[in-house]
Symmetry: C2
Subunit: 225 residues, 2 copies
């Protein structure tokens, strides 16, 4: 059965072990054996659940993704009710990062595995793409294809994040968010071929990115599931 306590128990044990080990050494340096030892779980048990290390980590992201999409729906519903969320989610992202930098560093820092970043990259791309396609529909043939613009945005966010983490956060989160806006806002304008007046909306949509990260780190740090 799906709702077998044994199943969820072992999965939780293995995920907890993985998270702890990532914090300690970084994803790359972990072997399956390490996870087994830490989780105190049999070797064959692991392979009964996942094919390899990556699949274990991905199962965790899957779980996060579901949570995130629920949150998204709430947010959309709130918007329909006319209430404007006064928060800056990119800023929240950087704040959360500062607070939980150890884990973030393991996931996004220089010594982390590319697999995680690539997964997140792809996911955020898919998330922002429809938003920007919507945005660009009102304009005709933007100088830069929407797909490229979105990819550029995510890359910039990641590059700021990793730079910041690798240097142990020499600036406050507020400054980082400001940099992100300074760098991307004019670029988005230029890419969409938008007159400056319409910019605020673009920046707004951008906040979707932060939304994911916020939930992301919240879920991570409680380490529960």
């Amino acid at each position: 059965m799906k709702n077998d306590r044994r199943v969820s128990r072992t999965r939780r044990l293995m995920l907890d072990a993985l998270m702890a080990l990532i914090e300690e050494r970084g994803y790359e340096k972990i072997t399956v054996q390490d996870i087994l030892d830490r989780a105190d779980v049999g070797r064959s048990t692991f392979y009964a659940h996942f094919r390899d290390k990556d699949e274990l980590l991905l199962s965790w992201f899957e779980h996060l993704r579901e949570l995130f999409e629920l949150q998204q729906q709430d947010l959309l519903a709130a918007r329909r009710n006319g209430s404007v969320p006064g928060v800056n989610m990119v800023l929240d992202l950087f704040r959360h990062t500062a607070e939980h930098h150890k884990l973030y560093k393991a996931v996004a820092g220089r010594q982390s595995g590319e697999m995680i970043l690539k997964y997140l990259h792809r996911y955020l791309n898919g998330l922002l793409l429809p938003v920007f396609e919507e945005l660009s529909r009102s304009r005709r043939e933007p100088p830069v294809p929407v797909e490229v613009t979105v990819n550029f945005l995510v890359s910039t966010l990641f590059s700021l994040m990793t730079w910041w983490l690798d240097r142990d956060m020499p600036y406050p989160a507020e400054k980082m968010e400001e940099m992100f806006r300074t760098l991307t806002r004019p670029a988005i304008e230029a890419a969409l071929g938008t007159p400056p007046a319409e910019v605020p909306e673009a920046v707004n949509k951008n906040d979707t990115v932060g939304g994911f990260y916020r939930l992301f780190i919240d879920s991570v740090c409680c380490a529960g599931r």
Copy 2:
């Protein structure tokens, strides 16, 4: 002795084998044994020269770096003589990439090793940093620290490159270069806090990036050393 024919011969054999294998399968999927088989070199010989796969590849970059720095000096000398290089080096980069996309894909594509990209990233950063520090000296306290701006530039170049390669180059090189300019030019202006008038210089300096890549791929494809 250093100038022993045997040494340079085995090193060349191993490098050639590595390059061929990278083109075929990508860096990740190669084992030391593969290199040995292809190069027809003894196991112990390999470890007499390098500690692992990465070190072999790095030795190749080291070699490229030297060549590049020589070219840089020539270029600087030419500039002192008053002759303005009329070429757009970023454009050249994208053209070379299109021409030798197979190898580029192995090095910079989605399935390549992060190690190479990280190395290049760091190198280009170090290259552009003094240039932009010089640029920003005339201005006081730019909105974005120079270090971040440079990192952003390299990231953007890489993101365009990999996006392009992963999708089998759906646009001509000219279009890609145009996008790069569209995205980065206004961002650089904003980051440096520069009035639009002074921009051309910034774009000019940027060309240094392409300079490396041009030589980079030239050296690669001839496969000689």
